[in-house]
């Protein structure tokens, strides 16, 4: 049974230094608030897994929480580079970052395999690509029936997955709608899953075949309205395109980045205080 906790409590109780952590959400429902809370609590030496490490991981990497990144597409979508990611990879600031690089199909399959309790995933991938030359974890397996050689990749089994969803009921059952990405698989692949939600309701009113994560498959559910900003929560909020663009100059230099997280993340008690501070700044 998921406990209904504050995000602070959930991160305190379920995320340890050194954990492998997946914050998933495919342009939709990105769990930004969780990233902030990991920074506030100064979590260290995390191995971060995410298909598309965008702002949510640029933050964690720049703040010094990460020692390794497992990913398949790293950029600020529609804007350009992730400056904190590049600085860590290229210059080792604030600490060296090991990277392990895959394709989307690989990681999506690896989450499916993780959710399925399998140690590896099989897919038709990478023939002719140089990625296996730089990632020794991309191996192969031969079909015992046809002899076809397919790619074999290790499943992803995070210690903790955090996702954001539209709503939970009071027992902690969670409903996700719209672009689903790999969130369900990431949650089920993890030892512990935390879900931040837009609202907690009496009745999910989920269609019969909707994407529902039952409470007993989750560790914690946290009420964090707007917790996916600057991405969106279908039916609740729009994507804040402007913020993606504004992020570029903030993250470009170590100084401006540090000043920003000191003010907006380390300088706020929680996500609602952060939102208020951000709104006040934008009103200027």
């Amino acid at each position: 049974m998921a406990e209904i906790l504050t995000l602070r409590e959930a991160v305190q109780r379920f995320v340890n230094d050194g954990d492998t952590v997946a914050l998933e959400g495919f342009t939709h429902l990105i769990p930004t608030a969780a990233s902030h809370e990991l920074i506030r609590q100064g979590k260290k030496d995390l191995t971060l897994v995410r298909m598309t490490p965008d702002l949510v991981y640029d933050l964690l990497i720049g703040a010094g929480c990460a020692k390794k990144l497992i990913f398949s597409w790293g950029g600020n979508p529609g804007v350009g580079s992730l400056h904190r990611l590049r600085d860590a990879v290229e210059k080792g600031w604030p600490q060296p970052l090991e990277i392990e690089e895959h394709s989307h199909a690989d990681l999506a399959n690896a989450y499916v395999a993780g959710a399925s309790g399998l140690p590896f995933a099989v897919l038709r991938a990478y023939a002719g690509s140089d990625l296996p030359k730089v990632n020794p974890l991309i191996k192969s397996v031969t079909c015992p029936f046809t002899g076809e050689v397919l790619a074999a990749v290790p499943s992803v089994r995070p210690d903790v997955t955090v996702i954001h969803a539209q709503k939970a009921d009071r027992k902690g059952n969670v409903l996700i709608q719209g672009i689903l990405g790999v969130q369900k698989e990431a949650a089920l692949a993890a030892k512990r899953a935390i879900v931040t939600v837009e609202e907690i309701v009496d009745d999910l009113k989920a269609p019969m075949n909707a994407c529902v994560l039952p409470t007993w498959a989750l560790a914690a559910v946290c009420l964090v309205p707007g917790g996916a900003h600057p991405s969106y929560a279908h039916g609740y909020s729009e994507r804040d395109n402007r913020f993606y663009q504004d992020w570029d100059p903030i993250a470009r230099s170590r100084e401006s980045f540090t000043a920003w997280i000191d003010a907006f993340i380390r300088g706020t008690a929680d996500f609602s205080e952060y939102k208020a501070k951000l709104a006040a700044q934008e009103a200027k």
């Binding site: 529609g78 989450y111 690509s129």
Partner: protein, 259 residues
């Protein structure tokens, strides 16, 4: 009507999408061209985005690969794992429509790194969905602006394979799809030469010279014997494209992603 070279590129790319074909769409230029096709000659083209929407019919261009309007206008929205497993690897994609940071003469794509992988000169975003789109789609279209920096003789890194080392190399790799069948740029259209699978120019856009193409290609580009001239964008195409971009700007306060 006058038009820009970018408009010519988008229109020329859109024309390559047959009506009713099932297209796996990359964000940015491919998405723009695919939606232009849908709004002009190919109303029944099926657009699939890797985030999960199948049959998306957005009225404005998405800024991200997972915009809400893609979900709202789709026939259904499935998990990302299913998109790659049942729909792409399952062999149901007619056309993979890709952008690229760099291509070589065999249509191989680099979106990973310029320079050494471990000491990069420029670190690019990485593979995303492209390696398996390039491998499993029945055919691939590549759209990108042409320059010496983007059309290179030797890629530092092959992220997504085209025709490999040319000839029958792709076949020997056991890949199910036919690979890239055209590269559409702001200057011309290139197609693979029979046998060698080296990309050669088969059509110049109106007003573009061979010299311009040679200058903007990092390998010794060759031209087909029967070199065509691309038909200029029609008024219908241009109006549809500009309306789409205007709607996008009005909706998002910015143009559809061109990254």
């Amino acid at each position: 009507m006058t038009y820009s070279t970018n408009e010519m590129m988008t229109v020329a790319a859109a024309r390559r999408l047959g009506n009713g074909s099932v297209c796996f769409v990359g964000i940015g230029l491919p998405s723009k061209a695919a939606n232009l096709a849908r709004l002009t000659h190919a109303p029944d083209v099926v657009l699939i985005y890797e985030s999960g929407p199948i049959g998306a019919k957005p009225s404005v261009l998405p800024l991200s690969i997972g915009d809400g309007e893609l979900a709202e206008t789709a026939d259904t929205v499935v998990p990302t794992g299913e998109i790659f497993r049942y729909w792409l690897q399952g062999g149901r994609i007619d056309v993979g429509f890709l952008g690229a940071a760099q291509v070589d003469k065999y249509g191989n794509i680099n979106t990973t790194v310029i320079g050494d992988y471990h000491k990069p000169k420029v670190r690019l975003p990485g593979a995303g969905g492209a390696p398996e789109i390039a491998g499993s789609a029945k055919k691939v279209l590549i759209i990108l602006k042409q320059s010496h920096r983007t059309f290179v003789d030797k890629l530092a890194f092959i992220t997504s394979v085209g025709h490999g080392e040319g000839g029958d190399h792709r076949k020997r790799l056991g890949l199910p799809g036919a690979g890239p069948v055209a590269i559409i740029t702001d200057l011309c259209i290139m197609e693979p030469e029979a046998g060698t699978h080296e990309f050669i120019v088969t059509a110049l856009h109106p007003g573009v010279t061979r010299e311009q193409v040679i200058e903007n290609t990092g390998w010794q580009i060759r031209f087909a014997d029967q070199l065509a001239v691309t038909e200029a964008p029609t008024e219908t195409e241009l109006v549809a494209l500009r309306d789409l971009e205007a709607r996008t700007a009005a909706a998002h306060g910015q143009l559809g992603g061109e990254e």
